[in-house]
C-alpha cells in the first residue's frame, strides 16, 4: 500500500461540551479516492476541519504529512486544497473568476510576496483544468452554482495541492451538473494523482467512483471498498429507519436536511 499521508489514531474531536467525532482510527494513503458518508451531524465536516488542522483532537492523535495536526503550519495547509460546503455566495461581491482562483496561491506564497506572472499562469492553468478558462474575467456572481463550484475547485487546484478535500461539492446544484462536477473530480484524481477526500450525503453518486468509503456517525462505523461498506446491515445500523434500499440496489436516505455539521 502507498504511504499514508493522513493518520488518525483513536482521535476524538469536538466543541466544549459536544463530542463531534469519537475514537477515530483511520489511515488515508497517497493517491486514494475516499468517499466520506454518514447521516446529518455525523461529524463529516468536523473530519475536514480536523484534517485542515483547524481543530486539534481532545484525545488521540492526528498526523498529516508526518506532522501532528496541532503543529500544522500555514505551508502544510497550503498543500491541502479545500472546497468548503457551499454557502450562499453574495452575488454582488466584486470579484472576478481569476481573482478568486488567484487566492489559491496566497497561502503558498506567504506574507510579503506578491503574486508573479507564474502564479497567474498556475491559476489560469487550474481554470483550464476545470473547463472554465473562457470565464476568467467574468464576475463570479454571474456564474451558475455548478460553474461556481468549478471555480472553487480551480482555486483549490491553484494551491498545487497533494490532497483535495471536498465537503459536499454537489449540494445545491442541479442533478446533471452534479454528475459533471463528480466526473471532474474523478478525472483530477486519475490524471493528477491527487489524494481525494469527498464528503457527501449522496451515496449512489459516488459509490462507483471511489476506492474506499468511510461511514461515520460520530464513530467510524466502517471503512473499506464500497461493496464492503454498503451492506444493508451496516447501513441500517447507522441510518436506522431513514434508509430505503430499492430493488435496483439504490440507497435512499430519507429525511435528509442540507444543513448539517
Amino acid at each position: 500500500m502507498a504511504h499514508p499521508i493522513i493518520r488518525f489514531s483513536h482521535a476524538t474531536f469536538g466543541f466544549p461540551g459536544v463530542v463531534a467525532l469519537e475514537d477515530i482510527t483511520l489511515e488515508i494513503s497517497e493517491g486514494e479516492f475516499v468517499g466520506v458518508i454518514g447521516p446529518n451531524g455525523s461529524g463529516k465536516t468536523t473530519l475536514c476541519r480536523a484534517i485542515l488542522g483547524l481543530m486539534p483532537p481532545f484525545a488521540g492523535g492526528l498526523q498529516i504529512f508526518d506532522c501532528a495536526c496541532q503543529e500544522l503550519r500555514c505551508h502544510h495547509r497550503a498543500r491541502i486544497g479545500y472546497l468548503p460546503q457551499k454557502d450562499a455566495l453574495d452575488r454582488h461581491f466584486p470579484i472576478t473568476v481569476l481573482e478568486a482562483v488567484m487566492m489559491g496561491r496566497y497561502g503558498a506564497l506567504g506574507l510579503f510576496t506578491r503574486p508573479s506572472k507564474q502564479d497567474r499562469e498556475i491559476a489560469l492553468h487550474a481554470l483550464e483544468n476545470v473547463g472554465m478558462q473562457e470565464h476568467s474575467k467574468t464576475a463570479l456572481g454571474h456564474l451558475s452554482g455548478g460553474q461556481q463550484q468549478r471555480v472553487f475547485i480551480a482555486r483549490a487546484l491553484a494551491q498545487q495541492p497533494q490532497v483535495l478535500l471536498l465537503d459536499e461539492p454537489t449540494t445545491g446544484i442541479d442533478i446533471t451538473t452534479q454528475a459533471s462536477v463528480l466526473d471532474l473530480v474523478q478525472r483530477l484524481h486519475r490524471d493528477m494523482g491527487l489524494t481525494v477526500l469527498l464528503v457527501t450525503h449522496d451515496i449512489n453518486m459516488i459509490r462507483e467512483r471511489v476506492n474506499r468509503l468511510v461511514l461515520l456517525k460520530t464513530r467510524l462505523y466502517a471503512a473499506g471498498p464500497p461493496a464492503e461498506v454498503l451492506r444493508p446491515d451496516i447501513l441500517r445500523e447507522v441510518y436506522g429507519k431513514d434508509l430505503v434500499i430499492t430493488e435496483k440496489d439504490l440507497i435512499i436516505v430519507e429525511d435528509y436536511h442540507h444543513h448539517h455539521h
Binding site: 491541502i80 466584486p94 470579484i95 472576478t96 497561502g107 503558498a108 454571474h142 451558475s144
Partner: protein, 273 residues
C-alpha cells in the same frame, strides 16, 4: 476659488482632506467587504472619548484617541470571534458606553473647549502644519500596510475561514485590519470629525462596490472617489462658507446615490441556476 488656493491654510486643508479621503476610502474597501461597518462607527466614538479625556487631563489627544480606538476594535474583534453575543448588540453597548464616557469627560471640563468640539464635528480649515505632518505619516503607514498585505486582506474579506484553511494567517490579518481601522479613524478625526469620519470610510467604498465586479477595480475607484469628494467638499465649503465635514460627506453621499442609480449590478438580473 483659485484665489483661495493661494492661501497656506487652504493648501493645508486640501492636502489633509485628500490624504484622509484616500486612506479612508482605501481601508473602506475591506471594511465594507468584510462587513465591519458598525465596528468602525463605534471606534470613532471611542476615539472621541479618548480625545475628551486627553483634554481633561492635559494629555496628547491623538495618542489617547489611538489607545481608546485600539481597545474598542480589539474588544469587538474578540467578541466577533467568540460569537457569544450578537455582534450588533455588543458593539451597540460599547458604542454608547464610549459616547457616554465622552459626554462625561466633556461635563467634567466645566468650561467650553472649542478644540474638543473640533474633533467631534471636524474642522479641516484649521489643520495646522504639525497636524498635517501627523496625518501624512500615519496615513502613509496605513496605506503601506494595506499595500503590503493586500492579498491577505482581500482573501479574509472574501472568506476568512477559507483563507485560514488554505494557509493564510487569517486571524492575525483580521486583527491587523481592525488596528488599521482604528488608526485611520484617529487620523481622520480632526478633518471630518468623530461623527462623520465613518461616512468617509463607508461611502466611497460602497459607491465603488456598485460600479464594478472586480476587487482591484473596486479599490482604485474607491480611492479616486474618496479623494475627489474630499477635495470637492473642502472647495465647496470654503467657497460657500459651509462647515467642511458635512460638505465632504454630503458630496460623497450624492455621488453614492448616483452610483446606485446607474449601477450595472442593479440593471442585471439574477443568473439562472
Amino acid at each position: 476659488m483659485l484665489e483661495l488656493l493661494s492661501y497656506d491654510f487652504m493648501q493645508r486643508s486640501l492636502a489633509a482632506a485628500m490624504l484622509v479621503g484616500a486612506v479612508c476610502s482605501a481601508i473602506g474597501v475591506f471594511v465594507v467587504l468584510r462587513g465591519l461597518a458598525f465596528i468602525g462607527a463605534g471606534t470613532a466614538h471611542a476615539a472621541f472619548a479618548g480625545v475628551a479625556l486627553a483634554y481633561l487631563m492635559g494629555w496628547p489627544p491623538l495618542a489617547v484617541a489611538i489607545v481608546f480606538g485600539l481597545a474598542t476594535v480589539w474588544i469587538t474583534g474578540l467578541m466577533e470571534e467568540q460569537g457569544r453575543m450578537k455582534l450588533d448588540v455588543s458593539i451597540g453597548i460599547l458604542y454608547t458606553a464610549t459616547m457616554a464616557l465622552a459626554i462625561l469627560f466633556l461635563g467634567l471640563m466645566k468650561t467650553y473647549n472649542a478644540e474638543v468640539y473640533g474633533y467631534l464635528f471636524g474642522s479641516v480649515l484649521s489643520v495646522t502644519a504639525g497636524e498635517l505632518r501627523i496625518i501624512a505619516v500615519l496615513g502613509f503607514c496605513v496605506a503601506g500596510a494595506l499595500l503590503i498585505f493586500s492579498k491577505e486582506l482581500y482573501f479574509i474579506a472574501f472568506d476568512q475561514e477559507m483563507a485560514e484553511a488554505s494557509g493564510v494567517p487569517a486571524r492575525r490579518i483580521f486583527y491587523l485590519l481592525l488596528t488599521l481601522v482604528a488608526v485611520t479613524v484617529v487620523v481622520s478625526l480632526k478633518t471630518v470629525g468623530a461623527i462623520l469620519v465613518f461616512a468617509m470610510v463607508l461611502i466611497p467604498a460602497s459607491t465603488a462596490y456598485q460600479l464594478t465586479h472586480s476587487l482591484a477595480q473596486m479599490t482604485t475607484l474607491s480611492v479616486v472617489i474618496g479623494t475627489l469628494c474630499a477635495a470637492g467638499g473642502v472647495l465647496l465649503s470654503s467657497a460657500w462658507d459651509l462647515p467642511s465635514g458635512p460638505a465632504i460627506v454630503l458630496l460623497a453621499t450624492a455621488v453614492f446615490f448616483l452610483s446606485v442609480l446607474f449601477s450595472p449590478k442593479r440593471l442585471r438580473r439574477a443568473p439562472a441556476h
